[in-house]
Symmetry: C2
Amino acid sequence: MSKRYKITIAYDGTNFAGFQSQPQQRTVQTVLEAAVNKMSTAADFVHVFGSGRTDAGVHALGQVAHFDLENEIPEQGIVNGLNSILPLDIQILAAQVVPTSFHARFTTHAKSYVYRVSRGRFVDPFKRFYTGHYKYPLDVKLIKAALPDVIGEHDFSSFVAAGSQARSHVRTIYQATVTENPTSNEVVFEFCGNGFLYNQVRIMVAALLEIGNGRRPVHDFLRLYEVKDRNECRQTAPASGLYLKKVYYNDDWLKNV
Amino acid sequence: MSKRYKITIAYDGTNFAGFQSQPQQRTVQTVLEAAVNKMSTAADFVHVFGSGRTDAGVHALGQVAHFDLENEIPEQGIVNGLNSILPLDIQILAAQVVPTSFHARFTTHAKSYVYRVSRGRFVDPFKRFYTGHYKYPLDVKLIKAALPDVIGEHDFSSFVAAGSQARSHVRTIYQATVTENPTSNEVVFEFCGNGFLYNQVRIMVAALLEIGNGRRPVHDFLRLYEVKDRNECRQTAPASGLYLKKVYYNDDWLKNV
């Protein structure tokens, strides 16, 4: 009787061609599956299922995936075993035996993302892979005034990149915050929602930065929900600033927000 | 009449084979000289002189170098011009016209280094190039008790790597501190001294971590100064944790310590 394991993963996305397996590419899924299969005694290949894709260069602080093993390994053994096999840009933070009704992708209730923007005329050499960069003036008060428009159930068709296979562009955002950090000279966004469309966070961040710079009206999101046109929102903030922070299952996420 | 420019530089050392030019290698000096020569109208090659070498993988928050230009460029023009030419892992923080009596290497009065150690059983994927790592238990109080022995004029022969060309191994350390950061789970060292031998900071940090772990007596530095034997201090903390923080000229460094 095989057991299902849920793992929580952090990775530096810089040197990955995204999460999902692709031929001839180094992806998170490929690297994870190679490690998991070294710990499996089964003859059949063990697949690893993620909560969703992340693009090339996008990071994770708490991605979630699951896989089934025929041989039983204690939870801490999964963590230590995988970490001793995996390369240094990916790390297992936790492992948990879960019922087979759990599915990393299909039972997701919510996800949260962080987006870090560094400011200043030039990019800090230590942040080039770990933040987006905005060199123009920003009035964070304008962004704060726009954020209530982001929260709630909306049609995000103006904020979805070509290539999305989602049947509906309606999503609910539970929380949207922006924080200024003068020490690190960064502006940090955080979003929590029931799901996000392809490139949605990066397109929303780009639009919010335009609001902060005054080149887009504060309440432009209300118009963008109506027009449902990506041409009204052409910019996409770079992958380097985006972090999948947490994936929520069941209703316990409500306690953490 | 040519002018001498002092520049202050930050770089992420990860993808550099150290500061000093070497054939077929990407070094900080090679990359700087290529950029500086694009801004020079002189027929002759313009050399860039650093305050000293840093090894492959070692970072800089405030390295200093100088060069001479026949054509006059305003200080801010040097900063903006070089930054627009240089790759993203190196950044000019400041430029200043200085008298030709200034020499980035020979008029140095003091230097300070930071060494970041991350703790925990596994390396944080985001820190693998930016910290050293110590997975064993550490009692930072023991390290704090050892640090007064580091300060002052000592013969650091036990703390110098093979390959050092220094005529004397006597150096003076003005300040040595260690800080625990529970949020980032790091232990951060900082040293300021009149000069440092080849790998000295990394060998001292390795010895201090052994003191913190209890595998070396707290006041072992006093013995190590006497025995003058690198075999008594075999470990070298990895390059990834080391940052050249600041290079001091004249006596104005005293004000900043």
